[in-house]
Symmetry: C2
Subunit: 291 residues, 2 copies
DNA sequence: TGCTTTGAATTGACAGGATCAATTATCTGA
DNA sequence: TCAGATAATTGATCCTGTCAATTCAAAGCA
């Protein structure tokens, strides 16, 4: 019944190759070749290390060097040797560069806004774009340890609570649940991992310890737009590895049968079901894993 | 609660610009620059008119000329003047060119397939890619008059019936409905329009006439991946214009209150609700519009 | 400490892609 | 029939991206 999947992927590829060309030339709107504009943008977005930018943009080192030189001649950036390693160089915007970067930002934002404004269901469109972007850049998803009160972490937690509220028959009220103390999810007692995809938080997991040999896995969540990429497994593996580093011998977790994909994940990755070990009103299924 | 929409659009843009670069170089896998490969592909996909290809790929005419020359030197294509207009040229594949094109096709298909295979929810991903592709190329959506029994038309109709079955409480059985005779939706009695987006049918509408001054609008459908682009309005306007060409004075249609977006569209575009005018078991709301 | 190896950035050389302007051939409409 | 418009080609030129050679600095090792 559905159209050939391969044809649909290729249609997508054609759409982006032809539209991204147009997107590129719009960067030329300020009279600067695309390469230079991309470098300027990376620096403006906070990258300072030349090698990191080169790597991120996939540029040849010779070309990178020339692009930096031309931006320098325009007075937009200045480069200086990295104090830690004098072979490397770091770049930063000058005052002029900062305002030029702001001009690009304004253009890009306006373009993005007008793209959304032309659509009468922007939420649907954004959801779709998130799915595609996460999938295209799945190799670039990085797991970062963050404070559970960090903005990215609390974004994930809010999304997680929202999803529980939708999926549990009786809803979900975090104040009735055994909300873990943030300190228990920070080293050395535990950890909190956030999966970041190009600046967007798309998943998280908490390792809640008490200094002893038993710890709990909490708050495993993957954004709907990032499901199917194996991210939950990756988060769990990373959390287990941190637990081993912290000399934890036994991990436990609770979950709810209204989240069958989670239960299935645990069963498939070496967890075994155990009896209830707390009086939290929400979970109905309990697991442990010996490390 | 949701992340800044503009940031999400820009994240998408970064994802495709960086991945499309990789996609480009993969085209180089056969030792031919991207431009030449794209031209070869367009010709292989059935485009013959050089100016049309140039326009579609957004190439400079000088560059296009050189690319054609190099493909000709490789023995992959031959060009000859357009018999209708000797200023223009048409291009077609030679036997060698055809097999080279097939090699590209095989590579592209394999790449698309492996992209999907890396995802454990390919249907979700495809749906998202369809939404994005339709939105990016909304300007390129064309409405074509087709026989209702044409493959693209019947694909739309099957999807349409499937959607009715899902949305009507009692389901939908086309054999119980007043299925219009295909001949009534072909000129000179009527017409059937299919909205095509780069080869994929994404919407349709039927104009069912009987040779007189009254006709009916039937089978208005827009693919879920193309909603929000104003396509339904565009299809309706086109159908009305064809009706005027056919000297039709009054249009009628029936619909169901389970499809509120349709009812809303009709109310907003000059249709007025009337009494039931047929005994079809499915519709419960009826409209007419004087042309 | 001196030596070798490795890594980062720069520079020159060069192939190829992209753009502009001029030219030729052809078509269209007055 | 002729002026103006359009399509393709060609030459000139600039820019981009790549390769290889060079310089300078860091890291590892005897």
């Amino acid at each position: 019944m559905a159209y050939d999947p391969v044809a649909r992927v290729r249609r997508f590829n054609r759409a982006v190759t032809s539209e991204v060309g147009a997107l590129d030339t719009s960067f030329l709107g300020r009279g600067r070749p695309l390469g230079a504009a991309r470098v300027l943008n990376s620096i403006g977005r906070g990258q300072t290390d030349v090698a990191v930018i080169r790597d991120y943009l996939g540029l040849d080192s010779g070309l990178m060097s020339r692009l930096l030189r031309s931006l320098e001649e325009e007075g937009l950036i200045e480069t200086l040797p990295n104090p830690q390693d004098a072979r490397r160089r770091i770049a930063r915007l000058t005052e002029t560069g900062r305002s030029e970067f702001q001009a690009y930002e304004a253009l890009s934002n306006a373009q993005a806004k007008s793209f959304l404004a032309r659509h009468s269901r922007p939420d649907e469109l954004l959801r779709a774009m998130d799915i595609v972007a996460s999938s295209l850049r799945r190799e670039q998803i990085v797991l970062e340890q963050k404070d559970p009160q960090h903005e990215d972490a609390s974004y994930c937690l809010r999304e997680y609570y929202g999803e529980l509220a939708r999926r549990f028959e009786k809803g979900f009220d975090v104040s009735l649940s055994r909300d873990p103390d943030a300190k228990d999810m920070i080293r050395p007692r535990g950890a909190f991992l956030v999966a970041m995809s190009d600046g967007l938080p798309i998943g998280c997991v908490g390792l809640k310890g008490n200094g002893g040999e038993v710890a709990e896995i909490k708050r495993l969540w993957v954004a709907p737009s990032a499901r199917g990429l194996g991210l939950a497994t990756r988060l769990m593996t990373a959390a287990e590895n941190i637990a081993r580093e912290l000399s934890i011998k036994l991990l436990r977790l609770d979950t709810n049968s209204a989240l069958p994909e989670a239960t299935q994940l645990y069963r498939g990755t070496g967890w075994s079901e155990i009896d209830r070990f707390n009086d939290d009103p929400y979970p109905d299924t309990f697991f442990e894993k010996r490390l």
